[in-house]
C-alpha cells in the first residue's frame, strides 16, 4: 500500500496483476462493451491510487475494497449512460483456459464465489444478479417482477447472509 500511495509503478503493476482481470470482467458484465470495460478498469486503478490512504486492512480485505470501488464506479456509469447495452445475466460460465502467474489468485476467488452462490436459491440468484450485475434497485426489481418490495429486500438480505456464511465456512481452512 505504501508503494501504491507513492504511485510506485511496481505497486500499481502488482495490484493490476492481481485484480486487473476481475475488474475488467466486471466492466464487461455491467457495461457490456470492451471500450467501457477498459475505461472502467483505468478509472478503478486511478481511483485506488487516489484513495489508497483510506484503505484500512482492519476493516476488510484488499479485494473487497478494490472490487467495491470497481462495482460502485460501474453502477454509477451504468445509471449515467442511458445508451449502454445491458449484458446477459450469466453468473456461471464455463471455466476458461487456465491463466498464468498472479491470476491463480483470481481462480481461487472465483471458486469461492461459485461455491457461495451455490448456496442460494434460484430466486435469490436471480435477484442478486439483477441488483449486482445490472445495477437495479430493489424497487426496480419489484416493479419489473411484480413482487412486493419487502419480498425483494428480504431475499436480497437473506442471499447476502448466505454468501457471508459460506465465506465464513471456508475461511478457517
Amino acid at each position: 500500500m505504501e508503494g501504491l500511495l507513492a504511485g510506485d509503478d511496481a505497486a500499481i503493476r502488482a495490484l493490476y496483476g492481481r485484480f486487473g482481470r476481475p475488474v475488467y470482467t466486471m466492466g464487461l458484465r455491467l457495461l457490456g462493451s470492451r471500450e467501457a470495460a477498459e475505461e472502467l478498469t483505468q478509472d478503478v486503478f486511478l481511483t485506488a491510487w487516489r484513495k489508497a490512504a483510506r484503505f484500512d486492512p482492519q476493516r476488510g480485505r484488499l479485494s473487497t475494497w478494490l472490487m467495491t470501488i470497481a462495482h460502485n464506479l460501474a453502477v454509477d456509469r451504468l445509471r449515467r449512460d442511458t445508451g449502454v447495452s445491458r449484458p446477459h445475466l450469466v453468473l456461471v460460465d464455463e471455466v476458461p483456459d487456465r491463466p498464468a502467474g498472479d491470476e491463480e489468485y483470481v481462480l481461487i476467488e472465483r471458486d469461492e464465489a461459485l461455491r457461495a452462490l451455490a448456496c442460494l436459491s434460484d430466486a435469490e440468484k436471480r435477484l442478486i444478479a439483477r441488483a449486482y450485475f445490472r445495477g437495479m434497485t430493489a424497487r426496480e426489481i419489484a416493479e419489473a417482477d411484480a413482487i412486493p418490495l419487502g419480498t425483494v429486500k428480504t431475499r436480497l438480505r437473506s442471499a447476502l447472509i448466505k454468501i457471508r456464511k459460506a465465506n465464513e465456512l471456508k475461511e478457517p481452512s
Partner: protein, 256 residues
C-alpha cells in the same frame, strides 16, 4: 435515519444500488453506529464475493501500460527512470519462467511444488551457503552475462527445523527477479508471504505461498519491475504475520 431504517437499506447499500438520496444518510449513520457498521461491512464483504463469479475475461495487453501512464500523469513527482530499462519486461518474465523450468519446476508456475525432495541438510553455515549457491547455479547461469546475482540463506529465529534460500538477479532490463525456496514449514501456518526489503525497511511483496509439498517446501519466483540492487533482506511471514524465516543476500560467485 435510525438503526431499523438503515438496516433495511444495507443490502442495497452493499450491492451498490441504494438510492442516492439515502447513501449519505446511511454513511453518516455508519460513522457512529458500530453495530450497523459491522453488519454493513459483513454484507459488503459478501457482495464483493460476487465480483469474482463471472468467468474472467482478458483485458487487452496495453491496458496495464495505459493505467501506469495515467497514474504517472497525476502523481506530483514522476520517478527517475533510466532510458531503455523498460524494454526488458517480457524478456524478464520469460527468463524467470525459464529459470524455474531449469530448476525442475512446472513451466509457467510462479508458485510451484518441487519435484525433488529437499537436499540433505548441510552441517555448517558455509556448507549451507554452498548448497544454496549450488541450488541456484543453473538459474544464475541462465540469467545471462549482464546480470548480477545475490544469494542468501533463510533461517528461523529459534531452533525450528525451517530453512530456505533466496536468489535475486539484478538485470539491466530494470525488471529484476527473485526466487525463494523454503523447506520444512508447517502447513497449518499457511499462507506464507514472502517479501524482500531494502536497508531502510522498504518491502516489496514477492509471493504468497499457499501450497507446500510433503516436506513443507515450495519454490516461488517473481519478476519485479524495479532495481533490486539494494534489496538485501528476505522475510517470510506466516498467516498471522509472524516472521518464520529471514535472511540477508550476498553477491553470488560468478556463474560457471
Amino acid at each position: 435515519m435510525n438503526c431499523p431504517a438503515v438496516r433495511d437499506r444495507l443490502p442495497e447499500h452493499a450491492l451498490g444500488v441504494a438510492d442516492h438520496h439515502d447513501v449519505h444518510a446511511i454513511e453518516r449513520h455508519l460513522g457512529w453506529c458500530a453495530a450497523c457498521r459491522k453488519e454493513a461491512r459483513d454484507l459488503e464483504r459478501a457482495a464483493a464475493t460476487l465480483a469474482f463469479a463471472p468467468a474472467p475475461a482478458a483485458p487487452p495487453r496495453e491496458l496495464e501500460e495505459r493505467i501506469i501512464a495515467s497514474v504517472r500523469r497525476e502523481r506530483p513527482s514522476p520517478p527517475v527512470t533510466t532510458p531503455g530499462r523498460r524494454r526488458g519486461r517480457r524478456f524478464g518474465v520469460v527468463l524467470v519462467a525459464a529459470a524455474l523450468l531449469v530448476a525442475g519446476l512446472g513451466a509457467g508456475a510462479v508458485l510451484g511444488r518441487r519435484d525433488a525432495p529437499p537436499a540433505d541438510k548441510p552441517s555448517t553455515q558455509a556448507q549451507q551457503q554452498d548448497a544454496a549457491f549450488e541450488k541456484f547455479q543453473r538459474i544464475i547461469q541462465s540469467a545471462g552475462p549482464d546480470t548480477k546475482a545475490a544469494v542468501g540463506l533463510l533461517t528461523p529465529s529459534g531452533k525450528e527445523p525451517w530453512r530456505g534460500a533466496a536468489l535475486v538477479i539484478v538485470s539491466p532490463s530494470g525488471h529484476d527477479q527473485v526466487v525463494v525456496t523454503v523447506d520444512g514449514l508447517p502447513r497449518a501456518r499457511r499462507p506464507y508471504r514472502v517479501a524482500i526489503a531494502d536497508r531502510h525497511g522498504h518491502a516489496v511483496p514477492v509471493a504468497v505461498v499457499r501450497h507446500l509439498d510433503k516436506a513443507g517446501g515450495a519454490m516461488v519466483g517473481r519478476v519485479i519491475a524495479r532495481d533490486l540492487t539494494d534489496y538485501v533482506r528476505v522475510v517470510v511471514t506466516d498467516a498471522r504475520g509472524r516472521t518464520v524465516l529471514t535472511g540477508v543476500l550476498d553477491p553470488a560467485p560468478p556463474a560457471g
